[in-house]
Symmetry: C2
Subunit: 307 residues, 2 copies
């Protein structure tokens, strides 16, 4: 039993007010795997080019992530993204995107990847996500991420994906865009009506909220005095959430379990942004994660006298 | 013993995607008083013009707010603000501002207003706030609000105010602007170093955070499916916070008390935005407020096993 994640493995060039990296390991599946592998076995599915360094494959394998389904494409180039962040890190400009081997990617999962217990569809084209869903043998729990581009150009396919998953992770602007509803609660309810039992709205520096059919949960981001590079924070958060869910084999996958999962996702993501790319999470320990979950618990408590 | 608030009493013209009002009771001191008066006696200080309706004075007095220090200026016009909100209510454009009687306002507090237990300096010019501080007989607790305009044109005076108060309430963009620090935590720490023991950063639809010298607290906004008019939400929140603090006469005014106070402020503010202007809070009951505090408690809890 394991988690299968399908998504990008990439090189990123990033400039922030606090420094830059010309070429560092990145990609949604990479950040997801480094976080989820704290909690369960992760199998990553995605293509890389001939330029992909053996040392970066080792980083991906840091906590035992299985890379048999990472396909190295001859004469191909690894997906490349370049971006620059504004002074408060809340705005970001894409300077370059080179799809490379991702342009022709057609997921073809191994038997082991198909037999996953939990499936995460990272942000790739909805038609590819549908193909992965068709290949898998009914995972116990499935979550999906997406982005504004697919809502713009492939909304019907994305809705078809959403109808078949348990949990949708989007940022709040994407939820509003997908549904045309200005209220986040109303937007999430519309997505729930498509089929999923949970919607998690990512809110960047403000945290995340969880909306189920009959319950709501809000969790702040972990407060940091210094943020260096937000790249991959959302995928790291997803990795913590999905990894924690996968690890709770004996628990019912309900709203309360997802609350706790979000605390783990938030904790791991808070480390991700303290250094560039995968640098911090690659050497992170589970004890450090537990400590931040504990702090998150303390910074969200208040006492009052029920009337 | 009572709360004194000094600030604007106004007429607002507001257009949102859900309706409009051509002329409704508004102003920071108005919204503050309607919220704070749930918890303690409020005395409001501010000028109105001859156009100010007796019926609106009655609204201000809904829960016993004392209006002896509301000065009616002959031949003057009440402060007027007109604005319009965007589709998701997160952007707002000011269409008109007419200072009216507020242009010549020089606060001259009655003995009763000076003898307040708790003082709230709503968003007015920092020099006026300094004058109020000079007039008061050392209130037990003082909080201040301000805005980007004063940070731009009267930063030194605003810092002089901040040095003399216990709590600063600003939105997070204003805290960043005031300190030049992109990190909210770092910005708040710089403000704490000026003298206050607490900084509350308002974050609109995302809630608010409390930063003290050795503790941090984050509270989401109350989740609403329908928001009609955000005007006055920040002042209503401040009224709930300051009112609750004032009502806890036997408690030490520490971080934990402010956490609870923020829950009350958040609860009252959530009603404010459900209808235009003061319409909802004017007929709100304390039982309804308690119920939302209870719900806020429930939507912020998560369980985990400390390691």
């Amino acid at each position: 039993m394991s988690i299968t994640v399908v998504g990008s493995i990439a090189y990123d060039a990033v400039r922030t007010p606090f420094g830059e990296r010309a070429r560092m390991l990145g990609g949604a599946a990479t950040h997801f795997s480094l976080a989820a592998s704290f909690f369960d076995t992760v199998r990553v599915v995605g293509p890389v080019g001939e330029d992909f360094a053996a040392a970066d494959l080792e980083v991906l394998r840091t906590r035992g992530t299985l890379t048999d389904d990472v396909s190295m494409i001859r004469d191909g180039r690894t997906f490349f993204w370049a971006g620059e962040y504004g002074w408060d890190l809340n705005s970001r400009e894409t300077l370059d995107t080179q799809l490379g081997v991702f342009g022709d990617f057609e997921p073809d999962l191994s038997d082991e990847a198909r037999a996953c217990d939990v499936l995460f569809l990272a942000n790739i084209g909805p038609q590819l996500q549908l193909s992965v869903l068709d290949q898998c043998d009914g995972p116990r729990w499935t979550a999906v991420d997406s982005m504004n581009l697919w809502i713009d150009i492939a909304r019907d396919d994305l809705v078809a994906v959403i109808e078949r998953v348990d949990c949708v992770l989007l940022n709040d602007a994407e939820l509003r865009q997908l549904t045309g509803k200005p209220s986040l609660v109303a937007a999430a309810k519309e997505v729930l009506a498509m089929g999923p039992s949970a919607v998690i709205a990512k809110q960047g520096e403000y945290g995340a909220v969880l909306i189920s059919h009959d319950a709501f949960f809000s969790l702040p981001a972990f407060p940091l005095e210094s943020v260096v590079d937000p790249t991959g924070a959302g995928d790291t958060f997803a990795g913590g959430v999905v990894g924690y869910v996968a690890s709770q084999r004996d628990q019912s996958l309900d709203h309360d379990l997802l609350r706790t999962a979000m605390a783990y996702g938030t904790a791991v993501a808070s480390f991700n942004v303290e250094e560039f790319g995968t640098e911090r999470v690659a050497r992170l320990t589970l004890d450090e994660v537990h400590e931040r979950v504990d702090q998150l618990h303390r910074i969200t408590q208040f006492s009052y006298s029920p009337v």
